[in-house]
Symmetry: C2
Subunit: 145 residues, 2 copies
Amino acid sequence: MLKMKDFEEHINTLRSLGLRPTKQRIKICEILFGKKATFHFTVNQLNEIYKKKFKSKISLATIYNTVHGFKKKGYLKEITLDGNKSYYDTNTLNHHHFYDEGEDKLIDIENFDVSLNSLPKAPLNKSIKSVELMIRLENNNHNQK
Amino acid sequence: MLKMKDFEEHINTLRSLGLRPTKQRIKICEILFGKKATFHFTVNQLNEIYKKKFKSKISLATIYNTVHGFKKKGYLKEITLDGNKSYYDTNTLNHHHFYDEGEDKLIDIENFDVSLNSLPKAPLNKSIKSVELMIRLENNNHNQK
DNA sequence: CTTATACTTTAGAATGATTATAAATTAATT
DNA sequence: AATTAATTTATAATCATTCTAAAGTATAAG
């Protein structure tokens, strides 16, 4: 059951980002920021979730616009994977990931599970913007008969 | 000045991979494995280098085929960056990278410049295939007036 | 050295993700 | 309620990549 409070919160979030609170954006907010747990998604997955949850269509262009807006404002983080599609993470704090190639799935790594002892220093006139670990996973039985 | 020895070496490399040594593949080998220093490239960049160096055209499809062949055989490594194009690295040893976003350029990090103290353990039935650090760089003056 | 076979290259079409466009709609302002 | 400015939308355009089928080339066999 959705409470008015949720809507208002999303509306305020959007306004604070300088984005008009449209029906579509509020719904995307409900999907992305409605639950406590953070999660990872592609634009296509977000589109599917939207269709199912609200039983209504939305233009992909709108999803791209909104996601880009959130990213620019720091409410979403794009994640680095090979291949040719982008993943987004609702957890914008600095953290690392497992990538399960078999299942094409990202898993957050808690920061206290990793300890980076020494880092290289940045080249002249550059500074470090972020440090991210990608740990690729494979199934244990990969070299069995 | 190219010596016959170089060609023969590339031909042997190709044969050992089960790839027929065609004109195109030998030339790609010259580009990729001819110099001592390793380097990073996209398929398009490789195409440009090929055109300039040999003053002849090559089909993009051939470049894709060859690069994929080398990758599958472990002679090239695909590198993970956001956006929608793939980078390849002639250094296939496990190592980390700086990514200079401004210049869209990858820089190798020597392994002894990084020390990872503790790693999270892999989820059940999974094991760690690779661990790679991506350190994003920005210009020092990014928040000056 | 010629022929047969399998592998390669090629141009161009097909695909899939993303971005651009321009008209219709909606939110905000007056 | 009317004006304006931003947004949504469907669709076209773009870009990297993969697919395809025909033409070309390397290898193996005679």
